[in-house]
């Protein structure tokens, strides 16, 4: 049961083979045993989970049909509001906040689909980091090698799913914070189209770039969970009014007729042998024979950097004035710098964002999917500061997201598929045009069926 997929759990619960109470008890037991070595969970909501499990089992006995995620344990990055808990967003400062009065929209929707929340997950402070480290709560550790980082900022989400603590987790992605941990931890991750999923009742970071999305250990779970949480929401002014378009029913449709290319140029610079090997395996599996160039991708990455710096600073300016000493210094200094950027530079980045968006829409008239590495390298050791970029010693932390940032700048949907290299996995981005998560998921499914994409199971002891 500990490595069961969400779909397997839901099927066994629905058939009566498994009781929700025993599924949840096993998950809680595994979390208690394994989490101290991973530091994935910031809070385990055991009482809530057990009460809900009893309620769901009673509903099943009454003949009620639960949803497609019946009995599935899941956890959420601790920027999602959870009823009765202060929303930390990885910070010390938010400990003083009032407990949330209501769950985040996506948490409610997963529970409406029958899933059971088991806890909140660690993240980098205020989501402003790619490593998964946290100055207040310590690093979250990679289940495949606990001396290595998970990636961030949804480090706890990546670790919890990769480590078999839960089959599903929710995270967020502003510049790569779902895709980087998916890559380093060897799991499937979905950053949907910007505005696709409701951000209601989550702690923000960069309004122009924030996305929410699921982590799972296979493409089917990703599709089913995405479908369960996807719907317009009037409580989120950025959430699209576009009706939900289910992806799971067509997940196994294959990729015949789809035009799939690899991203060249910028997305080849600095990639390690492992990043290139993973990309080539997925490209071969999907029959990719050509490359496309995303124009000015380096500027797109810089535009994302500038928008993040300026909008992030604006969000936190009051906190910097009143609680400056309580921030992670690395986060604080970047926020202060962002506050000091001339406003015209931020607007110029937003104009470039429009330009890049239009160029990529044109590109996608000639291609249906584009592949790119998710990270330049596999998970580095905790505390490593630099890496070799084209033979030059380069700061590591800001460059982990070099391949993810240009895509989240313009909000195109991405599925990351894990490639189980040895000794460490690494992810590949499958990039689709806006609103076509279904195409990326179909390609992920093919890569998985061919054995190229797989969430490897780590050996973990308590």
């Amino acid at each position: 049961m500990e490595w069961s997929s969400a779909s397997e759990i839901a099927a066994n619960v629905t058939s009566g083979e498994w009781q929700v109470a025993s599924v949840i008890e096993q998950a809680l037991s595994r979390i208690e045993s394994i989490n101290p070595g991973l530091n994935a969970f910031s809070e385990v909501t055991a009482d809530r989970a057990r009460a809900r499990a009893l309620s769901l089992d009673a509903q099943i006995r009454e003949g009620k049909r639960l949803g497609p995620l019946a009995g599935v344990p899941f956890a959420a990055k601790n920027l999602f509001d959870l009823r009765g808990i202060a929303t930390l967003a990885g910070s010390r400062i938010n400990r003083d906040h009032e407990p949330a009065s209501r769950d985040a929209a996506l948490v409610e929707r997963l529970e409406n689909a029958g899933a059971v929340l088991v806890g909140a997950l660690h993240m980098s402070e205020y989501a402003y980091d790619f490593t998964g480290d946290n100055a207040h709560y310590g690093p979250t550790r990679n289940p495949h090698d606990r001396s290595r980082i998970t990636g961030g900022s949804s480090g706890g989400s990546g670790a919890a799913v990769a480590g078999g603590l839960v089959p599903l987790a929710l995270g967020s992605d502003t510049n790569g914070s779902i895709r980087v941990p998916s890559s380093f931890c060897g799991v499937f991750g979905l950053k949907p189209t910007y505005g696709r999923l409701s951000r209601a009742r989550t702690f923000p970071f960069v309004s122009s770039l924030d996305h929410l999305g699921p982590f799972a250990r296979n493409a089917k779970d990703l599709a089913v969970s995405f479908d369960a949480i996807c719907a317009p929401d009037s409580e989120d002014p950025v959430c699209s009014l576009r009706p939900a378009e289910p992806t799971a029913p067509q997940l196994c449709k294959g990729i015949e007729g789809l035009r799939i290319a690899s991203a060249g140029g910028y997305f080849r610079k600095g990639a390690s042998a492992e990043a290139n090997e993973a990309l080539e395996r997925v490209a071969r599996a999907l029959g990719v024979k050509w490359e496309v160039e995303l124009p000015e991708a380096d500027r797109a990455r810089s535009a994302a950097y500038v928008i993040t710096a300026t909008e992030g600073a604006s969000l936190h300016l009051d906190r910097l004035k009143t609680h400056g000493a309580e921030f992670d210094p690395a986060v604080r200094d970047r926020l202060i710098a962002g506050a000091m950027m001339p406003a015209s530079l931020g607007l110029q980045a937003q104009k470039f964002r429009r330009w890049f968006h239009e160029r990529l829409l044109e590109l996608f008239k000639h291609v249906d999917l584009i592949l790119a590495p998710a990270t330049p390298f596999t998970a580095p050791p905790i505390g490593q500061q630099t890496f070799l970029f084209n033979g030059v010693e380069t700061p590591m932390r800001p460059n982990i997201g070099m391949y993810t940032q240009p895509i989240s700048l313009i909000g195109f949907p991405v599925v990351v598929v894990p490639v189980p290299l040895h000794p460490l996995p690494i992810g590949v981005q499958i990039i689709a045009p806006p609103w076509r998560e279904d195409l990326a998921l179909r390609a992920a499914c093919v890569a998985e069926e061919l054995g190229v994409a797989l969430a490897p199971r780590p050996f973990l002891s308590s």
Partner: protein
């Protein structure tokens, strides 16, 4: 189209004293108290951010290109 070298920083056109003065003045304008120990990190962060901003701003865009945020009623 003017393309600046990626490593050129707008901040590099200032002397170290000028940049520190800019940071001090901006802190006053923002009503932000910055501990002296934070200044080196803030300076490096600002230099990095300005390098990225310079790469973006050196790309000529038509006046008609709207900034990306949209307002949906």
């Amino acid at each position: 189209m003017v393309r600046a070298a990626a490593s050129e920083s707008a901040a590099s056109r200032l002397t170290p004293g000028d940049l520190q003065g800019y940071i001090a003045a901006a802190a006053v304008l923002l009503d932000l108290k910055i501990d002296a120990s934070w200044l080196p990190g803030v300076q490096v962060s600002l230099e990095t951010a300005l390098t990225h901003a310079n790469l973006v701003s050196s790309f000529v865009l038509l006046d008609e290109i709207e900034p990306a945020p949209t307002f949906r009623t």
